[in-house]
């Protein structure tokens, strides 16, 4: 007799009255131990649900049902633009990580360490020019694809009812893409970068009320310096990638759940 309260889910007692082999006992004990702590049953249930969903037959899509394929196929490239921007993002991420091995964000040196490392990548590093070129082109293509993707969504009315939230996430993503481009543009620390940075500081300063605070936060001061470059670098390689990747995952996840809006 134990003083511990027994409820209907007394798994130990249940195990005792079953005639279990040692392997079964060990398995069940482990499973129960883990389940108590990690709620494995919930995840098992999710998996089970997925299993049944995968094995269901796909319902006919709108185009199949009404035999609109002959009307639809020539729109198809426009429907791949979102996918294109994702691929460009992935290519930019990989080439950017490789570029990060050789780049250092410092304004000291002659003319500056950042500028020198770009020169090194472009002239001395084997395939370095290709790496930087790949990074830059995929960034350009990503921005272009994102813009066109937005136009496609607008002109096919795909932002309408159940998809408003995804449209807003898309607006945030297109803004983040441009901030990505801007921060990346500043990193070589050449003339264009410097004066684009100057414009950025002035834009930040002209935000009503919070302007000086914003300029301090983003640019590390009212004139461009080492801390500006450092902040742009951290935004470009650390902060934005996390935020943008998470948002892209949510964006695509919602598309996956809702399906692609077709022209009706």
């Amino acid at each position: 007799m134990s003083l511990e309260r027994k409820d209907e889910f007394d798994h130990e007692g249940w195990m005792k009255e079953r005639d279990l082999t040692p392997i079964e006992t060990i398995y069940l004990t482990t499973l129960m131990w883990l389940d108590k702590r990690l709620r494995i049953v919930d995840y098992l249930e999710l998996l089970e649900d997925l299993y049944y969903k995968i094995n269901m037959q796909m319902p006919k899509s709108h185009t199949e049902q009404y035999n609109l394929d002959n009307k639809f196929w020539y729109w198809y490239p426009l429907y791949a633009l979102g996918s294109f921007s994702t691929i460009a993002y992935v290519v930019a991420a990989i080439s950017g990580a490789l570029l990060g091995f050789y780049y250092s964000p410092a304004t000291t040196g002659d003319p500056s360490t950042a500028y020198n490392s770009i020169t090194f990548i472009m002239t001395d590093l084997r395939f370095g020019f290709f790496l930087r070129s790949l990074h830059r082109w995929s960034a350009q293509v990503m921005v272009a694809a994102v813009f066109l993707h937005m136009l496609r969504v607008y002109f096919t009315g795909a932002y309408k009812e159940p998809r408003e939230l995804n449209w807003i996430i898309g607006i945030v993503l297109i803004s983040l893409t441009m901030v990505f481009g801007y921060t990346g543009y500043l990193l070589p620390w050449d003339q264009l970068a410097f004066w684009a940075g100057q414009i950025g500081v002035e834009m930040a300063l002209s935000v009503p009320l919070a302007g000086e605070w914003v300029a301090q936060l983003l640019f590390g001061g009212f004139t461009l310096s080492q801390s500006t470059l450092q902040r742009m670098y951290i935004l470009h390689v650390f902060f934005l990638p996390f935020v943008a990747t998470a948002l892209i995952a949510i964006h695509i996840g919602i598309v996956w759940m809702q399906g692609i809006a077709e022209p009706h």
């Binding site: 249940w14 472009m122 293509v141 607008y154 002209s206 809006a261």
Partner: protein, 267 residues
Amino acid sequence: MSENESTTDGTGSEREAATDGGRKAADGSGIVAPDDETPTWRERKERTQGLSQLTYEYFERARREDQDLRTESDYVERDVLAFPVWPHEMIRNLALTSFFVGMIIFLAAALPPHIGAPANPSQTPAVILPDWYLYWSFGLLKLGPLNPDLALLGGQKLMADRTYGVVANLVVVGFIAIVPFLNKGAARRPVEQPFWAAVGVFGVIFAATISALSVKNLIPMDSHLLFDLTFLLPFVGGFLTYAVLKSMREGYMFELNRRYYRLRPPK
């Protein structure tokens, strides 16, 4: 489901308890708990309390509602029409991906970016430009001439010109963000909604002209003319689009509806 109901048909009290879809195999998947002592998924869930209990109850209600709607509906196929991402979309996308990656590699190899002169704070270059995709935003910063001087403030401007430019950026992005809440309804194609298609064309042309305005030093044109055209051309484009779509609309909608009614008769 039907099997469960036939087993619970015996007693009236049991039937009462089964109003929410049967006791065992609660999710309708036909899975029966291994034996009486193992709680079903539903029973485990029902032991939760508070917010999770509420969430669960809501999910149950929503599922029941869906089920009711499905049984009410005349249509055998589902009525929501969207293009499934998997496999239809992904397979075609993957095919296009290979072309795309090839294109990027070709561009990267053929046209590497050049390196400009190093940063020099003491020497302002003749042309200061952001990357091309920020031209529109850069152009919106140059809207100073449109910033009204208010008589109330004695001819003063309410905002500095550069603040005005930043606010213009926010207004444009904000407007685009709330489009789904302004334009509702089932219309999808431009012909079905000429006004919003015209707004879209206005936006596209304005993006182009405001970009041109931002690089006005590089455009061989009188800057006043360019400024006027920046705001005139989008309206011209918008009105043209509206007129064309409106006149296309009659015939087009007839064709569209005729096909729809033939394939999918109204209730």
